[in-house]
């Protein structure tokens, strides 16, 4: 039973300050170096004892000029930079970037490629939610939960490493396909993961979901209503926990999502606890998609054919057919590359954090003229002041963790 009094609204605080002087309010600088600000964010909190009267978020402490780099790198080189945006699920960013590029170029992927990208995007979603919920656990003091989550992430890293050689920052997708196809070992490891993951998820839920301390710390904290969520542009689990039933995998199906049976997880409370539950439920749904997809991978080529002149042909084709040789050279030479229309388009995917989209302006050359990344974290961070008003200092950490703000995606 919580013994704290009901949260004061800003109106109460304002009324008080009108009557007395504001001497009792003090300013606390939270970050940019702080364990609970997941890397570099800054919050300037105005506190009345333990209660937060106002919060002024500041960002930009990791702004690296991603969008300007996008104007100097080719479409296949830039995927390495997209890895470093939402760095807790890099594969999802790769898939989103190439989805946007392929929409601009008007390329249609092979069925096998779509299924493979779906599987990997869902594994990346599980990766992201594990860390996000793990960090919420860590920040509220549940270290074991964090370690369980990290162990499962290591299993997924092992799968990614077997697939393309890198644990993380994989740069796996290419225009028109992927760089490495699935081998039987990868399929076996994914099957193994599908078998063993539900048990860990059950263990993790047993630790926190009905844990009195955790529930008290997160229930009723940081409430976001449905109208506010839409008006503020929130997407992804943050919006779905407030009742907005928008999921691009169902609303604007892309890749192979139409073939699989899964549910969109929503809640109506809109508080930190609801966001935690939505992420846990989404992990189960993602596992369902992976379990269905891994048994139904279509055979056939994974990259688009040579006639499309976008993906590098296989070595067998390069060495035995003239079209393969010509194609290989045309794509590799720096002044040739592939044809890009002079047009602008926007394409978004349902990244684990929300709607991750890229607005691309093509100018005929092999570098984008403008590569704008629409980051879900910016809009979520802008929501922070209204979520935290009236709560205590220890709730700041819970709310910040539940919004899953990744500084690299925030600042680009």
């Amino acid at each position: 039973m919580s013994i704290a009094p009901a949260p004061r609204t800003l109106r109460d605080a304002a009324a008080d300050t009108a009557a007395r002087s504001e001497d009792y309010l003090w300013t606390l600088n939270f970050g940019p170096q702080h364990p609970a600000t997941h890397t570099t964010l800054r919050l300037v909190l105005k506190l009345d004892g333990e209660r937060v009267v106002d919060a002024m978020p500041e960002m930009g402490y990791l702004h690296s000029g991603f969008e300007k780099i996008g104007e100097h790198l080719t479409y296949n080189q830039y995927v390495t930079v997209t890895d470093r945006m939402n760095y807790i699920s890099p594969m999802a960013n790769n898939v989103a970037w190439h989805h946007a590029v392929e929409t601009l170029l008007g390329i249609e992927l092979t069925p096998r490629c779509r299924t493979l990208r779906t599987i990997i995007a869902e594994l990346a979603r599980i990766n992201d939610h594990l860390l996000s919920n793990g960090a919420v656990g860590l920040d509220t003091g549940a270290f074991t939960f964090f370690l369980y989550a990290f162990y499962q992430r290591e299993v997924i890293y092992d799968i990614f490493e077997t697939l393309c050689g890198a644990r993380f920052t994989n740069s796996w997708t290419r225009v028109g396909g992927v760089s490495q196809d699935f081998t039987p070992l990868v399929v076996e490891k994914i099957r193994q993961f599908v078998k063993t993951f539900p048990k860990t998820l059950d263990d993790m839920e047993r630790l926190l979901t009905r844990n009195r301390i955790f529930v008290d710390r997160t229930k009723g904290v940081g409430v976001l209503s449905k109208e506010e969520a839409i008006n503020a542009g929130a997407t992804g689990p943050v919006a779905r926990a407030s009742g907005v039933t928008r999921d691009l995998r169902k609303d604007e199906p892309y890749l192979a999502y139409e073939q699989f049976d899964f549910q969109v997880c929503c809640a109506s409370a809109g508080d930190c606890y609801a966001r935690y539950l939505v992420r846990m439920a989404e992990m189960r749904e993602s596992l369902r998609i992976v379990a269905q997809a891994i048994e139904n991978i279509p055979a056939g080529p994974v990259n688009v054919g040579i006639d499309q002149r976008t993906a590098l042909p296989s070595k067998q084709q390069v060495y035995s057919t003239i079209e393969g040789t010509i194609s290989h050279f045309e794509l590799s030479m720096s002044n040739r590359g592939f044809e890009v229309p002079c047009g602008e388009s926007y394409a978004a995917t349902e990244a684990p954090n929300g709607e991750l989209g890229f607005y691309l302006v093509g100018d005929g050359s092999d570098c984008a003229y403008r590569a704008r990344c629409r980051p879900p974290s910016v809009l979520h961070f802008a929501l922070f002041p209204q979520l935290i008003r009236g709560h205590t200092l220890s709730d700041v950490v819970a709310v910040l963790g539940s919004l899953n703000i990744i500084a690299a995606e925030l600042d680009r």
Partner: protein, 211 residues
């Protein structure tokens, strides 16, 4: 570790010491203590921060090397691990945290971005924190695998054991820093808005006040 462990037969002219007594130099003892209890301060900015967390997690346990306690307060740490790119808005924060740490302190620059700017040769990213902070160990990689970071910590432990002194004489590396800075300025002349950088303004005001 060169301890003077007496053999079973005491040599002539030497004291006969019982088994539970060890004779060593104070420096070596201090180094041994310091290297095996490095408390890291994770200055985690970006992707390398996740690999840093993975290094501290259960599979590649960093606690085995004495670095159990990831204290985030600079007053309680002696090893700053800069994991990730440092942008110019963050650099004064990095410098302030470095100055708040107590001696003896060491710095590991983890990853390509902290060491040289990495993939990001852009207007906002500092091309190597060693331009502005003294760095003891560089870990290449983007991001470095946890095993690489553990190797860096082991190498740093060797460095501490080799070079450490109880009074901290080995930290007098200002001559090396000046050479490095001169090299940097030869390549990239600093033509800047010094007038608009508050850190520079404070330094100038302090210098003017002193003179």
């Amino acid at each position: 570790m060169a301890l003077n462990m007496p053999g079973p037969a005491a040599r002539p002219g030497r004291l006969e010491l019982p088994e539970n007594v060890v004779v060593s130099r104070l420096d070596e003892l201090a180094n041994w203590c310091r290297k095996n209890s490095l408390w890291p301060m994770p200055f985690a900015t970006a992707c390398c921060g996740i690999e840093l967390m993975a290094t501290g997690a259960s599979k590649h346990d960093l606690a085995r090397f004495g670095a159990e306690v990831f204290r985030f307060s600079p007053r309680q740490c002696d090893l700053m691990i800069v994991a990730g790119r440092v942008v110019m808005k963050m650099l004064p924060v990095l410098q302030r945290i470095w100055q708040q740490m107590h001696e003896p302190k060491w710095c590991i620059s983890m990853g390509a971005c902290a060491s040289t700017g990495g993939v990001f040769d852009t207007y906002a990213v500092v091309q190597g924190i060693d331009r502005f902070i003294p760095v003891d160990m560089y870990v290449p990689g983007c991001p470095p695998r946890p095993e690489q970071l553990i190797q860096a910590i082991i190498d740093l432990q060797d460095k501490i054991q080799r070079e450490g002194t109880i009074t901290g004489r080995e930290f007098d590396t200002s001559q090396r820093q000046l050479c490095k800075r001169a090299l940097v300025e030869a390549h990239e002349p600093l033509v800047i808005d010094a007038a608009r950088n508050p850190v520079v303004q404070r330094e100038l005001a302090a210098a003017a006040h002193r003179s």
